[in-house]
């Protein structure tokens, strides 16, 4: 199956996103309305390409989950209801491409028992909880101020830790994840959530370089939004474009990371690397 259909689906969701955007106050409303407007031709072309193509089940699920994501954005901004944001994050983990890449990352990460893991901005810390349940690692969840202030987010984090038996705690982080944790204290750092993507690739790299111990592991699940369609759609969550997988791997090697492994599936890719 070609990946192009995912981008067409993302493109076709933009008119819905724009139409919903008119019903609530988004901090970057005007900018997003203009961006949606500019894509008129791309939307028409995506429509032409897909209208007679049967939609594979996993693409249909991807579309359904992102469509719910747009509703969750409205609920957050219009009603200050963060429950749907939590659910959106959990549903995203059930999209086949994401599920496959997280399973793959899980299988290639080797961590000694008692490791300290940092999971950044995960409102549903499934990945770190499962790794911790397997290895007995301690988890430090770094949440930015906006998320840490939401009671339902703190409850869900607590729920994951309790249900998976994780020795975990959460820390409120300032604008940069590296400001609250001692340098070179972590055996692993994970950027595998929608809210971690909002940090951007450069911030991820600098946090990983600062916080990982020598030979510590970095695991990222990233959106392949270097391509249009997904790029504008994810901009509704303030997610900047990420580099192509090869460029991301080359950058990591240049930053003294080794054993860089990349896996791509649909509109996402996963990167695992070890700090020298």
């Amino acid at each position: 199956m070609s990946e192009a259909i995912y981008y067409d689906m993302a493109t076709l969701l933009i008119p819905e996103a724009v139409s919903m955007l008119r019903e609530y106050e988004h901090p970057r409303k005007e900018e997003l309305l203009r961006a949606g407007d500019k894509l008129r031709h791309a939307i028409l072309s995506a429509y032409e390409r897909t209208r007679s193509t049967p939609l594979p089940a996993e693409v249909a699920r991807f579309r359904e989950v992102l469509r719910y994501g747009l509703l969750s954005l409205k609920r957050v901004y219009a009603e200050d209801d963060w429950r749907s944001h939590v659910l959106f994050n959990e549903l995203l983990y059930e999209v086949e491409a994401v599920k496959y890449l997280l399973e793959w990352s899980h299988s290639v990460l080797t961590l000694p028992p008692g490791s300290v893991l940092i999971d950044v901005n995960s409102v549903a810390p499934l990945f770190s909880s499962r790794i911790s349940a397997r290895t007995g690692s301690k988890v430090v969840l770094l949440l930015d101020d906006r998320l840490a202030g939401v009671s339902v987010v703190r409850e869900v984090v607590d729920e994951y830790f309790r249900r998976y038996g994780v020795d975990g705690r959460f820390l409120r982080a300032g604008p940069s994840p590296s400001s609250e944790v001692p340098r070179e204290a972590a055996d692993g750092i994970f950027f595998v959530s929608l809210d971690s993507w909002a940090l951007g690739w450069d911030s991820m790299l600098s946090a990983a370089s600062a916080l990982l111990k020598p030979r510590g592991l970095l695991a990222c699940l990233l959106p392949a939004n270097f391509r249009e369609g997904l790029r504008t759609l994810l901009d509704f969550w303030g997610i900047p474009p990420y580099p192509e997988p090869d460029a991301a791997a080359a950058q990591l090697r240049g930053l003294r990371f080794r054993d860089v492994r990349v896996n791509r599936r649909g509109p996402f890719y996963a990167v695992v690397a070890q700090k020298r």
Binding site: R61, E64, V65, Y68, L71, R75, D81, R83, S84, V86, L87, E90, L91, Y93, E94, A124, L126, V152, R154, E155, V156, V157, D158, E159, Y160, R162, R163, Y164
Partner: protein, 267 residues
Amino acid sequence: MSIAVRILKVRCPACGSEQAIQVTPEVLREAEQNPLGLAGLAFPHGDHVLVVYLDRLGGERGARVFKLFQQPAARGLVEVRVPPSELQGLRNIGGFWAELGRLGVRLSSTASTSAVSLRARKGETTLELELNRDIGYQTARPWLEMLLEVFDTSYSSELRDYVNAVKALDLLLEEKPFEYARQVLWLLSNASVITIRLRMPEARLIRELRPTLLFERYDGGFVLKVLESSGSTVGELLSGVLPQVLFASAEAILALHRRGAIDLVVA
């Protein structure tokens, strides 16, 4: 004295009298802090109490009438005994008694031979726990106070709800307090007055996509049952549930509420 943000008028379903309700900042704050985002305001009307529930924006979210077990004029407490079979299988709690002043009831189990007991009082409620073993004052005290606070703000007149909350506490005594523990106890002690209302598309999406946590770490069968139970009370869903899984089932209901798949509304 607080200035009312606004005044609501509600007609009592029992006696038909009109009740004016001052929505004050304190009321809104109480709703903000309540596990389900509700504040219950009680108004004694002779032989019954009208309870009006408001949400954190001051909107009315339902009213209920509770019959008093005894006329206020003759206000002793009606003694209700909990059969010993109800507390069978509990590991930490050997017995308890609770004076629920608002309902005019003293609920008590058969006296146990426990050497350790803890008592606390808040508002119109007193609670004493008799413990089978010394689990340490520092460990037990926060849980006792949490349950006391929950009992004091509960409006259920179904005494089984209170007994179920005590059963859940038996398990909690072995844990450290956690973020939503109070919600679990509050849900159990109000189970018969809280109704499940499904929210779409969340309920459908959970049924179809089965998020990992909900189906890997909770009883998936129970999760699906809740998602097919619009209109049932929490008490109905929990009836027949073994005491050992009562707590986990209440947690599963709250997990669905936390994801917006259900609303919990006062019946």
